[in-house]
């Protein structure tokens, strides 16, 4: 069953088109992450779904009801903001019950719901405090609680973890995932953090310039990006790109020839043409294991960045720097010459002009 349906949505601010004829269908219970660089329109899309921005054109349906002209409060959504947006003069309990009081709910019911939300989020001891007396993590919990008490069908998160420090972010990320697992509500989550996107999402929508580039499961987006932008955006450290040409079943770049046997082409197999080859740093294998792979080459280590769990090495290959992710225990030093190799099945080929996947 469809929970949220965005249909032909366009939003323009004067001459600037922020969202361009966007359609997206979100089934019930899905955790959808809108991912993109700042200014790509992801927050704008969320605000349109929430009803905080009027679209220039298009429709929004929530639970099979056209809510395009509804007030935010009448759409059955709860929203969590980056800056928490807690009402500073009200206690935590006051913050949680504000929406319910506006809906003129009986007092007993309000108390029941506040108590339940406080229990789920473990903020019971904080109910009488003002937001100023809470830590960042506690504030965001209360903000989630404010959406929770209203018993809505759809949760909207607008970069909820961006104001928290790294450790808290990781903790709350797990908590949000757990919350989704228990409640099974539809959740739409905006972020620019790809780790949040990969870990939380059932599906990720990668946006650029008001258009969804790819809408797919995290693994699919990671392994088979539809274009060069998506490939470059997802993955850290970033994917390596080689500029070259296709010649039959071979990719030629700056004097090197990479055989492409095993690469699954998207459509008809092109025989000639300018192309990009992308290979992720963790898919480049070094040492003896590399020798047995279809593509092998010799490279000299340029810089080594040890990160504990793994080591990122920069090597010179085909006239450019290549990122290689190695085991954290690997003993490599600047100046070492090593054999590297990769399986073309794990690479991605993009047309040079259109930058679409081949």
């Amino acid at each position: 069953m469809t929970s949220v349906l965005v249909k032909d949505l366009t939003l323009k601010f004067g001459a600037l088109t922020v969202l361009d004829n966007l359609t997206i269908d979100i089934p019930e219970g899905e955790f959808l992450v809108l991912l993109g660089a700042s200014g790509c329109g992801k927050s704008t899309l969320l605000n349109c779904i929430a009803g905080l921005l009027d679209p220039t054109d298009g429709e929004i349906h929530i639970n099979d009801r056209n809510v395009t002209w509804e007030e935010p409060s009448g759409r059955g959504i709860g929203m969590v903001f980056q800056s928490y947006a807690l009402y500073p003069q009200m206690t935590v309990a006051g913050n949680l019950s504000f929406g319910l009081k506006n809906a003129r709910m009986p007092k007993a019911e309000i108390e029941k719901r506040v108590a339940r939300a406080a229990e789920i989020l473990q903020i019971e001891p904080l109910l009488d405090r003002k937001p100023a007396a809470l830590s960042g993590g506690q504030r965001q919990r209360v903000a989630i609680g404010r959406a929770l008490v209203r018993d809505v069908d759809v949760f909207l998160f607008d970069e909820p973890l961006s104001n928290l420090d790294a450790k808290l972010r990781a903790d709350l990320r797990v908590e949000i995932k757990r919350l989704h697992h228990n409640l099974k509500n539809t959740m739409i989550y905006v972020t620019h953090d790809q780790v949040e996107a990969m870990t939380l999402a059932d599906r990720i929508a990668i946006m650029k310039g008001g258009v969804i580039q790819q809408l797919d499961s995290p693994t699919e987006i990671y392994n088979r990006p539809v274009n060069k932008y998506v490939a470059g955006f997802i993955g850290s450290p970033e994917i390596n790109f080689f500029e070259g040409t296709l010649d039959g079943q071979t990719f030629v770049t700056d004097g090197h020839e990479f055989p492409l046997a095993g690469y699954a082409f998207q459509g008809p197999v092109p025989t000639k043409g300018a192309a990009w080859l992308g290979i992720r740093p963790e898919h480049i294998v070094t040492g003896e294991a590399a020798a047995s792979l279809p593509v092998t080459a010799e490279a000299e280590i340029d810089i080594v960045e040890p990160m504990g769990s793994d080591t990122l090495a920069w090597a010179k290959l085909a006239g450019q720097s290549v990122r290689i992710r190695m085991d954290g225990q690997a003993a490599v030093r600047t100046g070492d010459r090593i054999t590297i190799g990769f399986d073309p099945a794990r690479a991605s080929l993009f047309d040079r002009a259109s930058e679409d996947r081949l």
Binding site: A50, L52, P72, S73, I77, A85, Y87, G99
Partner: protein, 296 residues
């Protein structure tokens, strides 16, 4: 004995550095400059006329008398009317209270709407309102007389209240708009998701957050309206003259002897209201002005 002290902890500062002497010297001179006239007024108002005629305006009173204050308040004459300033005081209060309440109530809603509920043409509307603040009052005096006459409010206290409310609008709306703009937008969005409407958000979210800016507005309006002379003398009848106009009539009367002590007492009495407001609310005033700059 070179470098006997190891630098450690806070760096020692010289109390009488050149910068300090300059700073405090200037401050003291400026403070004296402003305090001296006040001193002269206070001592003069406490002297009898014979003592004033001696001409030592800086000397403290030999014989302290409160008679000038009593006379200024209850007996001084303006024209045929000898009730002192007390009547002007109550007139001013009657003008002040509705003007302050009305202008702030309207301007705060204006500012809130302009900051948070942008409508088509809201920027143009705001610009026009601000331009209004730069037009000299004198230009509008006569048109206003006609408008008030047509409304049947000319010479009436309520006519003056209306004038004060209108003229307070540009600066107060600007004040409130800027304050409400500094309130995070997400707070406003959250309240909308929570189902609060225009008035709900205004009364339950915005108002409780904006005490400092209301204090600033009250101070601006109370002092501005209390000190107003021009509108008071033009738009009211002598029976309704505010305190400032009456003070002028007492001090500038050309008949009889000049009672300097009574004039000083009358002036101090008139200035008392704004003075009390400043002293009582100085801290809040600064907090209100600085609000928006410091947010937790």
């Amino acid at each position: 004995m070179v470098d006997a002290v190891t630098p450690r902890g806070p760096k020692p500062r010289r109390r009488f550095s050149r910068a300090n002497v300059m700073l405090y010297g200037t401050l003291i001179v400026v403070a004296l400059y402003y305090a001296l006239p006040l001193y002269v007024m206070i001592v003069t108002s406490l002297k009898g006329m014979p003592e004033i005629r001696l001409g030592n305006i800086f000397s403290p009173p030999v014989e302290i008398t409160f008679q000038p204050w009593v006379k200024a308040w209850a007996e001084a004459c303006t024209g045929i009317n000898c009730e002192g300033l007390s009547r002007g005081f109550w007139n001013s209060v009657q003008i002040l209270i509705p003007s302050v309440i009305l202008s702030i109530a309207i301007a705060s809603v204006n500012g809130y709407a302009l900051a948070n509920w942008k409508f088509k043409g809201s920027e143009v509307f705001f610009t026009i309102l601000i331009v209004g603040a730069f037009i000299p009052y004198q230009v509008m005096l006569y048109p206003l007389v006609i408008i008030l006459r047509e409304l049947g409010l000319y010479g009436n206290v309520w006519g003056l209240v209306l004038v004060h409310t209108v003229f307070g609008m540009p600066i107060l709306t600007l004040l409130f708009r800027n304050y409400f703009t500094s309130v995070p937008e997400e707070l406003f969005k959250a309240a909308r998701v929570d189902g609060a409407g225009f008035w709900g958000i205004y009364f339950r979210i915005m108002l409780p957050m904006s005490l400092p800016i209301f204090v600033v507005a009250i101070i601006l309006q109370v002092t501005g309206i209390w000190n107003d002379f021009l509108f008071g003398v033009i738009y009211t009848k002598p029976a309704d003259y505010p305190m400032t106009v009456q003070l002028n009539n007492i001090v500038n009367s050309v008949q009889g002897i000049k009672e300097y002590n009574v004039n000083m007492a009358a002036t101090l009495l008139t200035g008392l209201v704004p003075l009390i407001i400043y002293f009582a609310s100085g801290k809040l005033f600064v907090r209100g002005i600085a609000a928006g700059a410091v947010k937790g």
